[in-house]
Amino acid sequence: MSKVRVLVGTRKGAFILTSDGKRERWSVSEPHFAGWEIYHMKGSPVDPNRLYASQSSGWFGQLIQRSNDGGETWEPVGNQFAYEGIPGTHQWYDGTQHPWEFKRVWHLEPSLTDPDTVFAGVEDAAFFRSTDGGRNWQELPGLRGHGSGPRWQPGAGGMCLHTILPDPTNPERIFIAISAAGAFRTDDAGQTWKPINQGLHSESIPDPAADVGHCVHRIALHTSRPNVLFMQKHWDVMRSDDAGDSWHEISGNLPTDFGFVIDVHANQPETIYVVPIKSDSEHFPPEGKLRVYRSRTGGNEWEALTQGLPQSNCYVNVLRDAMAVDSLDECGVYFGTTGGQVYASRDAGDNWAPIVRDLPAVLSVEVQTLE
């Protein structure tokens, strides 16, 4: 029978939640790396017991942990993330230039084909790769070397590379996103990159339609159709049907088009999910109602999913890496909140229940569907 493993990164440690395929009863692990920020954990698609975790602390810096047994035991691996060459400068909040400085790893993306190869998206934004299971990390400097770096700037969370989407049909193609620079694509396995932001419109930069400078919060795709991308931008929910070469808005009837997460149903590539969040400073759900919105038409037409979610006095946020889906039939959808709840739906979003509700603030949620 299938099993589901949910990897939850929080402000104060990592938690692993497991259930059988019915997804009715969940066990919750003791905290791993208690007291440390776990920005992200993810398992290898080709070896699901190979997990990687980004562990960091303001006191002790960055660590990368690796597990070969599904999270039962861990070992620290390499933690040296050195920019290639002279790091250069990017734009600071006040518009002045500021030196590139490594702060933390936001996102770890294991290769689709090799459990020892894993990509890392870091703050200040850069793209790293390890081919030896995380022991050594090399920057692929073509991204920062694109030439637009001096126009990149940090969002409120820092200048982070937070999304890494390998194209499952083309090993040379990877999509990434940076706050606040925008989305980029490589078609040569990371050697060179092009900004893919045509159609985005952002009031917070001098030219709202500039090629870079956009605060992209998250991108998602369905593996069967990797040329179709969905984006939750700082404001606006967007769609591209040409691998990011152009975008159009699909916010439609959402109560607010601000938010952080976006994801795609595992078995229905036109079914997508967002969690609208109020404004770019309040960062809690409109009207105190925690609602997931689902579109079954690839955008524009959205329905509120509320059954089992708090519909009053709810003022949590759902951060950009904190939604994921399983691949069971029917598709399970999961998200974590800054209030420490992880909610799950076993029926593609129709009904929700907390599978754990008192964790530290949730930073990331990933789901593994295991045979």
Binding site: F60, L63, P76, N79, Q80
Partner: protein, 98 residues
């Protein structure tokens, strides 16, 4: 023998449950002690000093013999009481809450 006291999180990371004892070749300085510490516990590399610059991480302090050595030269000799093992060299996390 040099005694080094680590913050709890670094003891957990290094899988030690009390102070660390190190043999240091040559003169005992912050640099030589931390080099010996990282050689014995390589998982601590980067957690006390920056990988590239070798500088103390800004939210850590170095104390010994009731003195703050955080801003002393990394190549200055450590106090005799630390060298003799009478007093520990303390790596302390800044009081920063959270």
């Amino acid at each position: 023998m040099i005694r080094v006291w680590l913050p709890g999180h670094l003891r957990t990371l290094a899988r030690v449950d009390s102070e660390v004892h190190l043999e240091v070749q040559g003169q005992a300085t912050q640099r030589s002690v931390l080099d010996a510490l990282e050689a014995k516990y390589p998982m601590l590399k980067g957690t006390i000093r920056d990988h590239v610059t070798g500088k103390r991480r800004s939210f850590l302090r170095f104390f010994a013999c009731q003195e703050d050595l955080s801003h002393a030269s990394p190549d200055a000799p450590l106090p005799d009481a630390v060298v003799s093992g009478e007093e520990p060299f303390l790596v302390v996390g800044a009081i920063a809450g959270g």
